[in-house]
Amino acid sequence: MKKEKETYQNRIELLQGTLDMLILQTLQWGAQHGYGISQALRSRSSEVLQVETGSLYPALHRMERYKWIAADWRKTEQNQRARYYRITAEGRRQLASERTRWSGMVEAIASILEA
């Protein structure tokens, strides 16, 4: 498992890593299902970010496997069965480290652009 994780992390590209971070951030505000997550990302980015189903669900399932998030089936307000994801303690730690990395990168890019 450890090894897989390492290869996974080596594979991280900006966008993918960012997507994981964004999902984790969204889940900070409470458990949510896949559709809810995609809607939240969309509205909070003022419709700029459109997460494709083909990226969202693999990301969710992958993070579930890494135990950054946990999932269970619940009823929605409209009384529909949906799979809700919530962030775990390990997920929070991961989020924190991703945020640090992100802000470091933003600063670095900014200093290059402003130089």
């Binding site: 896949g34 494709e52 189903t53 083909g54 669900y57 399932h61």
Partner: protein
């Protein structure tokens, strides 16, 4: 998560994922409808938004991390479906591989039992045996008490040394029920068990008194093996401390060893007992009467065999200073130190087994090559299917994996069948092998063998599948789809490779066939060696003589004479006689080296009764055999064999001239015994070695005062010529023996015909196995050749049709096919002759009456292979000639 739980949960999770995505879709729909979009437009928009759902699902599943398992299961299911669809093909592949795997596993089982066996001792590889020897290390002497005590005191290479020796004569558990069980009785040093790292399962065992290893606290004590404890004492747990009798001597039982423990490791079926060897000052002598002990030691960890050997050589230089007799000193000039495990199998058998294992390996290779060929043919036929999968988006790796899984499934099935074959083979040959090889085959399977089987399965699959799979995957997709038919461009290259493979098969088969031929000729020659005596209608009993009863009695008059009379009067017996060892008996031989008229004479000695000459029909070359006139009181006489007269007669070419020669005196002060006859006894020990000088002495003239030889200490064979079938005689004779003395019921019976048959021994076993291997190889090879040609002809139907249409004769067409077959066969035979030439060296030790590089055998094997091959080619050749040009051209 365990594999099985994953498999069970997989389906549940799959439908979970479907549900999850469906929910997503529905929510998106509901949102859009709530915003006022018409339902149709909303559905279209959502579908557009969500994209390729199937792909999304697949990618998500990959994120679970065990999609490989799913693929694997898919491939296995697919492989099974393929097998069901083409049963004939699957059966051929499985049968072929099973033959190869079965043969290899069977041979490996034997090798594992004989050469790789785990000895039942702690760290058995540290155990070494030591013996003193002269210039020829094959004749070793054991060691006297004084010598081994000095070894023990002076050496630093060993943790400890222990010794053992067989009890004198045969050993029986006596007393109690009246029957006497013959067991293997050993005298051992009290520290032996500790050195072996073995503890009794019951009782305290021997308690060695430090510091010496000759002293012991509980004297007169005995340890029983598990087998003896069970058979003779019914597994009585209260036996510790009670007295039992071995050869009428009482011993106190101090231990019962755990099941399976034996030492020495010789699989004596009735079990062993160990008594403590009591050593006293009288053992501290160096004389002809001294006992010599076998010595076992445990190397200190880190000490190499070489280092131990070097140390012992230095110590031995001191040891031999004690010996004043130059001959004695020369006989002990050196000490050999060998790992105990290596001394248990003699070098000939080791070589034989390894050669046979190699032969089985070759058969397995042939089978694998054959399967490669079959799979190549099949992958050509499946080109379209593979191309279609490629076109639908399967990656090369994925298709490769699928084809490898197919190969594994096939070879897995073959392994199951193969191990069944192997078990049957080992059971059938096991009874022959276990007596020859001194091995217990009762436990067939163990980890090593199963591991080897798994290895074989895997390697078979890799060997036979990789190439076809790789070619199939690499083939370009487009032409295969475009042309669609069976005649595609890659065909020609494929065929050349397949021809190469058939040639390889032919070459390897020829090697096996030549080996088989050489052994068959050996067996044939052995069977036609004139024995010089009759073997029919003779029952032989190797008497189990209770030596301890006759130590002070004249065994000839008290046991042998009455016994012979009793047997003589049984119904159906024509004549009964005794001989210390019947020809080829391999039970016991007595070698004497004595001075005759100032000249050293070395000869075998065989005490016999007068009837023996007529029972076996030994021809007399000169003089007479013993008769009733020869009594204990009459003049001592001897009969010699031609080898003796050739060696020691005044005129070497005239056996008559030895008559009257005075050889030895049978007892001190008596006149020397005179030679009265020369009896022809070809082939006394083995058929393939010439007779050695031998002297027969009349049994009745050997008495307790004889110093030449004490008849009571030996083995004696009873030979009975009968009118009745030998199988009916044996129980009657056994009953008569038991009446004479209960111990004699342990005697082993055989017939002279059987003894001769048994003497072919390892050659016969090897010949039988090689017959099977060679026959299978021939079959596989012919099948491979036929398969290839039949395929080629069916593939070239159109071309053949065109040729006929253009005016080719039908005979030209069959010649075309036969020429191809001939080329493959000739190349194969040429390479195979080289291989056979190189490998025949391995067989040299087994051959008799035929050279390892016998031209006739090679030529006949090559011819046989060539003819069988051409015969196999004839069928496709005829089919080629019968091609109907109209049909052939229309079929496209």
């Amino acid at each position: 998560m365990s594999l099985w739980r994953r498999i069970f949960r997989m389906d549940a999770r799959k439908s979970d994922l479907d549900d999850e995505m469906e929910t997503h879709r529905r929510m998106a729909m509901a949102d859009r409808v709530a915003r006022g979009e018409p339902e149709d437009a909303a559905r279209a928009a959502v579908e557009h938004e969500m994209g390729n759902l199937a792909l999304a699902r697949d990618v998500t599943r990959e994120a679970w991390g065990w999609v490989w398992l799913e693929w694997l299961l898919q491939d296995v299911r697919y492989a099974l479906r393929q097998m069901k669809r083409s049963r004939g093909f699957a059966a051929t592949v499985i049968g072929t591989l099973a033959l190869g795997i079965g043969a290899a596993t069977a041979m490996f089982t034997v090798v594992d039992h004989v050469l790789l066996r785990q000895l039942p001792y702690k760290d058995a590889e540290q155990l070494v045996v030591m013996s003193e020897h002269g210039n020829d290390p094959r004749f070793n002497n054991g060691a006297s008490w004084l010598d081994l005590a000095q070894w023990r005191a002076a050496s630093h290479s060993f943790e400890d040394l222990a010794f053992w020796n067989g009890m004198e004569g045969r050993s029986y558990v006596t007393g109690g029920t009246g029957s006497a069980l013959q067991i293997n009785g050993l005298q051992v040093s009290p520290n032996l068990f500790a050195l072996l790292g073995a503890k009794p399962a019951l009782g305290p065992g021997f308690i060695a008194e430090p510091p010496g290893f000759g002293a012991v606290k509980n004297t007169g004590s005995i340890v029983l093996s598990h087998t003896v404890w069970e058979t003779a004492f019914a597994g009585n747990k209260g036996i510790i401390g009670s007295k039992i009798r071995i050869n009428d001597t009482p011993y106190t039982v101090v231990g019962v060893m755990p099941t399976g423990f034996q030492f020495p490791y010789d699989n004596y079926p009735a079990g062993q007992v160990w008594v403590v060897q009591q050593l006293s000052d009288s053992d501290k002598k160096l004389g002809y009467d001294e006992s010599f002990y076998s010595v076992i030691g445990r190397l200190r960890s880190g000490v190499t065999l070489k280092a131990a050997q070097a140390e012992m050589a230095t110590i031995q230089e001191q040891v031999i200073q004690r010996y004043t007799d130059p001959q004695w000193r020369a006989d002990r000039i050196d000490v050999s130190v060998q790992r105990y495990g290596n001394t248990l199998v003699n070098a000939d058998i080791r070589k034989a087994l390894l050669a046979l294992l190699a032969a089985a390996g070759v058969l397995w290779l042939i089978a694998s090559v054959n399967v490669t060929n079959l799979l190549l043919a099949r992958s050509t036929a499946r080109q379209r299917e593979i191309a279609m999968r490629g076109a639908l988006g399967a990656s090369r790796g994925r298709v490769l994996q699928q084809m490898m899984v197919e190969g594994l499934v096939l070879s897995g099935c073959a392994s199951v069948l193969g191990i069944a074959l192997a078990l049957v083979a080992v059971r059938v040959t096991g009874s022959v092998a276990s007596t020859r090889l001194n091995v217990d085959f009762s436990t067939h399977l163990n980890g090593t063998i199963l591991g080897a089987l798994c290895g074989l399965t895997l390697v078979s699959a890799l060997l036979s599948c990789t190439w076809p799979a790789w070619l199939a995957v690499r083939a370009p997709i487009e032409p295969a789809l475009k042309q669609g038919g069976q005649q595609t461009g890659a065909g020609r290259r494929h065929n050349r490779m397949r021809s190469g493979l058939v040639a390889v098969e032919v070459a390897m088969s020829l090697t096996l066939l030549v080996a088989c031929g050489l052994l068959l000729r050996t067996i044939y020659t052995l069977r036609h060696v004139p024995l010089g005596y009759r073997t029919d209608h003779i029952v032989v009993a190797n008497l189990s003589i209770p030596t301890y009863r006759y130590t002070d009695k004249n065994v000839a008059t008290t046991l042998y004479q009455p016994l012979l009379e009793r047997v003589q009067h049984l119904h159906g017996v024509q004549m009964a006689g005794m001989m210390s060892e019947v020809p080829l008996g391999q039970t016991f031989n007595i070698m004497l080296t004595l001075s005759m008229n100032g000249r050293m004479v070395a000869a075998g000695l065989k005490p016999v009764t007068p009837q023996i000459q007529r029972i076996f029909g030994f021809p007399m070359i000169a003089g007479r055999f013993f008769d009733d006139q020869d009594t204990p009181t009459s003049e001592p006489v001897l009969v010699v064999n031609p080898a003796f007269s050739r060696e020691y007669a005044p005129d070497k070419h005239d056996p008559q001239s030895i008559l009257g020669t005075e050889v030895w005196s049978l007892k001190k002060g008596a006149p020397k015994a005179r030679v009265i006859g020369v009896m022809d006894d070809q082939r006394q020990r083995t058929i393939d070695s010439p007779s050695q000088p031998e002297v027969e002495v009349c049994l009745c003239q050997l008495t307790t005062s004889t110093n030449l030889y004490q008849p009571s200490t030996i083995a004696m064979d009873l030979a009975v010529r009968t009118r009745m079938p030998t199988s009916e005689m044996i129980p009657e004779i056994r009953a008569a023996l038991k009446q004479a003395s209960p111990e004699l019921a342990n005697s082993t019976f055989s017939t002279m015909d059987q003894i001769v048959e048994d003497s072919y021994g390892s050659q016969r076993l090897a010949a039988h196995l090689l017959e099977i291997f060679g026959g299978s190889a021939l079959l596989l090879c012919v099948a491979g050749l036929y398969g290839l040609l039949a395929y080629v002809v069916s593939q070239r139907t159109r071309e053949l049709g065109v040729r006929i249409a253009l005016g080719a004769q039908r005979s030209d067409l069959s010649r075309l096919v036969l020429r191809q077959a001939g080329t493959m066969l000739l190349i194969g035979v040429a390479v195979g002759t080289g291989l056979a030439w190189a490998s025949a060296r391995l067989l040299r030790g087994f051959l008799y009456g035929v050279q390892a590089h016998d031209g006739w055998t090679m030529a006949s094997a090559a011819l046989l292979l060539f003819l069988c091959g051409m015969l196999a080619a004839y069928v496709p050749a005829r089919r080629a000639a019968r091609v109907n040009p109209m049909e052939a051209l229309r079929s496209e």
